[in-house]
Amino acid sequence: MESEKAKILPFYVLIDVSASMSGRKLDEANQIMPQVVDALAQAPILADKVRFCVIDFGSDAQVRLPLCDVLDEHSSLPPLTIRGATSYAAAFRVLRSEIEINVKQLKADGYLVHRPAVFFISDGEPTDPEHEWRTAFGELTGFATYPNFVPCGVDQANPKVLASLIHPATGPKQMQMYLMEQGQNPADAIAAIAEILISSMLASGQSMAQGSSGMILPAKQDLPAGISAHSSDDFV
């Protein structure tokens, strides 16, 4: 038999841990990792396809869960903790460097690597200067292994800012943005976004086959209540 290379989808979740996230919002954010593990425990062959990484960002960005097979006996799920401001630039830089290292490693281990998938969850506006996070985002999306980037906003997040982060923003493989609808409880919205990212992870992993883009987002009619999906031209 021909030997086929296995294909891996690296899946990154970036979570805002700025001061405004404290309380119930952080509690919900802290449920994301165990929920992802539970979801994979119910579809355990997906561990042959998906690797998961969590980065949190406040005044700086830190890799909380290095890209791994979360069903592995030796991986552990760290708590997220609040750290001051909201540096999008730090988040984008750490993500870019992780992707670069992880993809290199996976390839060296003999895998084919799908374009990385990113869910970026924020409850506020970036506190760093615009040119700084724009530059960092340009560097993230401008290199060969740029990720499919799905921004998600709750509470005080700025729809216009987040819409500008959808990547790719156009074309057949264009991504989307998810926003908390007006009047919703932000903690509930984070739980709903967790649901979306898990169903995207499951669907993407399941469908991954020769030629597919490696990232599937739920259909609009299947979104949980309180969340709306948008494309990049919805906010100008």
């Binding site: 038999m1 030997s3 086929e4 296995a6 952080l26 509690d27 802290n30 990792m33 165990p34 929920q35 593990v37 539970d38 425990a41 119910q42 579809a43 355990p44 062959i45 561990a47 042959d48 396809k49 069903l71 006996e73 030796h74 552990s76 799920l77 760290p78 708590p79 997220l80 399941q206 469908s207 991954m208 086959a209």
Partner: protein, 318 residues
């Protein structure tokens, strides 16, 4: 309305919703019994636009035309659609037998949440230690060989009756290990009668694609080869493997030859389900029972998570 079709009103009040899939919702139908079905029934209500276009009545009729003994065997190995359900002259869903409780596992998820899971065959493909850690059984090699034997027997019965399963994959067969290890095919939507079109378009699940484009009994045999390989050689990347050498350690030379031939790109090379059945029958493995008691669930209120060094399960850090 013919014998293979009943009106929605004949179902009486529906019970609990058992699940939702891409194609529809599944409800208990406790108020109806059928002479030709032994156990409880469920009603699968198709979502609008997901009613199978054709072929359903042929699949339902085929079962009703079987002699009683064959039909009873069929009902043990497949969750076959037993009646078409119509409302106002249009197909609204199908009646099916309830999947027996022995194919479900009560377990705790890593977070400590209790759940009841269908024992899909995907759980046979992962590392057995991992399966145990996730609260699923980790069958011995002997039990795995018996599961394969039962699957071969099921496939043989279907093929002998001119049926094509089509979409054999990691989720549409379930297994049990108690009494006699066995499998049951739970999604019969893609089943087709040889010479007729499928009820729904027959598709290949990712990682189960056969070499040829058209799905036939020969592609069933190729996919069965993948099943044997992945079930007998569990572990990392088994679910995507097509390398027959993976099962060398547990297969006698004759079995290795059968497996290689099953995965041949030439359909004519592939052994029949009966060939496989004879091979597995000849092994007559000794079955040992194996059970792992579920540890109690951890608490779920603080934010950090770590592995308990003893139980290897996720617990929340304090």
């Amino acid at each position: 309305m013919s014998t293979h079709t009943i009106g929605l009103s004949a179902l009486g009040p529906l019970g609990e919703q058992l699940g939702v899939g891409g194609q529809g919702r599944v409800f208990l139908a406790p108020a109806i019994t059928l002479d030709d079905v032994a156990g409880p029934l469920v009603y699968k209500q198709y979502k609008p636009g997901h009613v199978p276009p054709h072929g359903l009545s042929a699949v339902v009729s085929r079962r009703l035309r079987m002699d009683v003994a064959t039909r009873q065997r069929l009902d043990r190995l497949a969750v076959w659609p037993v009646r078409i359900v119509e409302q106002a002259g249009a197909v609204s869903g199908v009646l099916m037998p309830l999947i027996p409780g022995q194919f479900f596992e009560d377990r705790y998820l890593p977070s400590g949440r209790p759940t009841r899971s269908l024992r899909e065959v995907q759980h046979l493909f992962i590392d057995p230690d991992r399966a145990l850690r996730l609260g699923m059984p980790a069958p011995t090699t002997a039990q795995r060989l018996l599961v394969c034997r039962d699957f071969a027997a099921a496939l043989h019965l279907l093929h002998r009756n001119d049926l094509v399963i089509g979409d054999i994959n990691a989720k549409n067969a379930v297994f049990r290990l108690d009494a006699r290890p066995s499998v049951m095919i739970v999604d019969c939507d893609a089943i087709r009668i040889k010479g007729a079109a499928a009820v729904v378009k027959q598709l290949n699940a990712p990682d189960w694609e056969p070499p040829e484009d058209t799905l036939t009994q020969a592609t069933d045999l190729y996919k069965f080869g993948l099943f044997v390989l992945r079930c007998l050689g569990p572990g990392a990347m088994a679910s995507v493997s097509r390398d027959p050498a993976r099962a060398n350690a547990v297969l006698a030379p004759e079995g290795r030859t059968l497996l290689r031939a099953s995965l041949s790109h030439r359909p004519a090379d592939r052994p029949t389900a009966q060939d496989w059945g004879r091979f597995f029958d000849g092994l007559q493995p000794v079955v040992r029972r194996q059970s792992a008691p579920a540890p109690p669930p951890p608490a779920t209120s603080t934010p950090g998570w770590k592995r308990d060094p003893k139980t290897k399960r996720w617990v929340q850090a304090t």
